[in-house]
Subunit: 366 residues, 2 copies
């Protein structure tokens, strides 16, 4: 605990940080709301200009008939699964073993919706067409996460996505996208959001990851689907009297960043290149396919932390505020490129990787 806290503290004292958009402080909200007309009426239980306009904008952007703003992706995705299960009368869905619903939601899908997941693919790779073809069980819905966050943001080839979509339509299996980071995949796929979404029956996107809002999610699909989703949103306790404190930042940040994901993607490839030149480091994927990747380092967590801390203090540049254990010999952390990267002077960046490489070399020789 002590060591990790100290890395966070050292990170917070650096002048530059390599990943992300900005600090998560109250100023983010203050700045956004300074620019908004105070006379704008609050949304009230899902109605009003502020929520209608953003939902319509996102439906259009995603190429879907309708979209609903949710306080969280957890709520939006469980509800999507429930709607497709109820429609088919089967309480089974398939997803990746490292799916958000499987590892981050305290088993909400089972405990609230009595839905059993079928886990497809191995933990270290994305779901393939062969995995889907090889399924023995009848399912209502297949969930694909684009990109697969827990393995560094990997993506299937686009042709494989199309083949999976085609197969699901033939078999009457609903295809749902966990597109928490959908916009982040578009520069690699060289597609519009609507083109990718056309392969799916329902789509969730987060408004606070690459988009950089405060919290919230969009769930999109056809009008019959979103009509049901709104009923379930009330059941879940997500139909708040006013969601504008999240909707307005989502809208402002979407407009500010929707065309910046190609830049983040190029920066991610550059940064992964710098990491992969260091001793004992490999990124996953080696060449990123979005704005994100994982940094795997051949040192145990307790030996890596003091090194990253020293790098913060010597260079004034923060690489990561935390380290996670992979096993006794290896650790990792996640990097998602955002607005901050472009603010770092090139020589600072060169320097931080020289210092890091030197320290890792010494540590690995010890």
């Amino acid at each position: 605990m002590g060591a990790q806290k100290t890395l966070l503290q050292a990170f917070n004292q650096t002048t530059y940080q390599v990943a992300g958009h900005s600090k998560r402080d109250i100023r983010q909200l203050q700045r956004i709301f300074q620019e908004v007309d105070g006379d704008l009426a609050a949304d009230v239980y899902g109605s009003g200009e502020v929520i209608d306009n953003f939902q319509n904008k996102m439906a259009k952007y995603l190429g879907k008939e309708s979209a609903v703003f949710f306080p969280s992706g957890t709520m939006a995705q469980q509800i999507a699964m429930r709607i497709w299960c109820d429609a088919k009368g089967i309480r089974k869905v398939a997803y990746h073993p490292l799916c958000h619903l499987e590892i981050h939601e305290e088993d909400g899908l089972r405990k609230l919706h009595q839905i059993e997941p079928v886990l497809l693919a191995d933990k270290d790779r994305v779901i393939s067409l062969a995995d889907v073809l090889g399924m023995n069980e009848e399912i209502a819905c297949l969930l694909l996460e684009l990109p697969q966050r827990e393995i560094g943001g990997q993506l299937p080839p686009y042709e494989e996505l199309e083949a999976i979509s085609h197969y699901c339509r033939e078999k009457g299996i609903r295809l749902h996208m966990d597109g928490a980071r959908l916009l982040e995949t578009l520069p690699y796929y060289q597609k519009t959001a609507a083109e990718v979404c056309a392969l799916f029956d329902s789509v969730y996107i987060s408004v606070y990851k690459g988009i950089g809002g405060i919290a919230g999610a969009i769930l999109a699909g056809d009008a019959a689907f979103t009509k049901e989703a709104i009923v379930w949103k009330r059941r879940h306790g997500g139909d708040l009297i006013s969601l504008y404190p999240y909707i307005i930042p989502a809208d402002v940040c979407f407009e500010a960043r929707k065309d910046k994901f190609a830049e983040y993607y190029e920066q991610a490839k550059e940064l992964a290149g710098l990491y992969n030149q260091c001793h004992g480091i490999s990124t996953r994927p080696t060449v990123p396919v979005s704005n994100m990747f994982h940094v795997h380092i051949s040192l145990p967590k307790e030996r890596l932390e003091p090194i990253l801390l020293a790098v913060c203090e010597e260079t004034g540049v923060g690489l990561s505020h935390y380290v996670r254990e992979v096993d006794e010999a290896t650790s990792y952390y996640e990097v998602s490129l955002g607005d901050r990267y472009a603010t770092i002077p090139k020589e600072k960046l060169q320097n931080v990787f020289q210092v890091l490489d030197q320290k890792l070399r010494e540590a690995l020789q010890a």
Copy 2:
């Protein structure tokens, strides 16, 4: 539709409004956040100073070991019911036929938690000790709403509340408070929040009704209860990355208004008196026991609306922005006293009731 929209428009153009605190516009949030230090860190998934401090403050105020901030009361209360049902191994709870869970939550309690409610008391009165003693079914939890909103904010005598609490403890029935408007009841009961809460095992309060925040709720109980509630909050999709856009307004508004409820209560009694002097009007309750009451008027909705609209335009004072039908001959609306009432000049208030009475008299003679 046309007529009701016009009443709302006329109401929105008045100089003074009798009920509530202020308009629901973006300015509310802007004003509150202007005063906050921008360096304050956002809460992250239920952790951080901003959420800890407010939860601790509310736990202390309610006299409970622990408190959890929720995005909504709908979520908080279903979760309280689920925890008590799981603890007892019985999927039944008892509440009033006009309980929020029964009429405003799209059946979430049944659809998400498979909990069956037992409805106690008649629709037009609060749950009595006799209702509780007369229950035939075994239940895990009894929910009491203080005050009972849908019947104008009625309250049981405090001694009856104590007797119900005593009986439930003896029988191993958990007692939960829907205290959406708990602070509003304290001047009538002449008790502290902690004294009333001591009769209950778990308590929910809203932070945006009398307190006047933007959205959100507090669920309080012992530490084992709130620990479980936090797990369920994640399952429901309520563990947002940051809830500070609701927590900070809740805190600011709690501090600003926690000592004003006696004033609102006195104003409610005065205002109900003015209403009851008018032809064809009776308030429910006749003498309010909180800051709220319902105004029942012996005219059908479609005849009352143009009268209220004309009152708006002639006096510049808005009494209500809507009317609901009771039956073919009677309509009603709800009034909750807040900051606005004290801003209305006395002569304006006298005048609006003279005009209203005159118009009702004419209408009732027609």
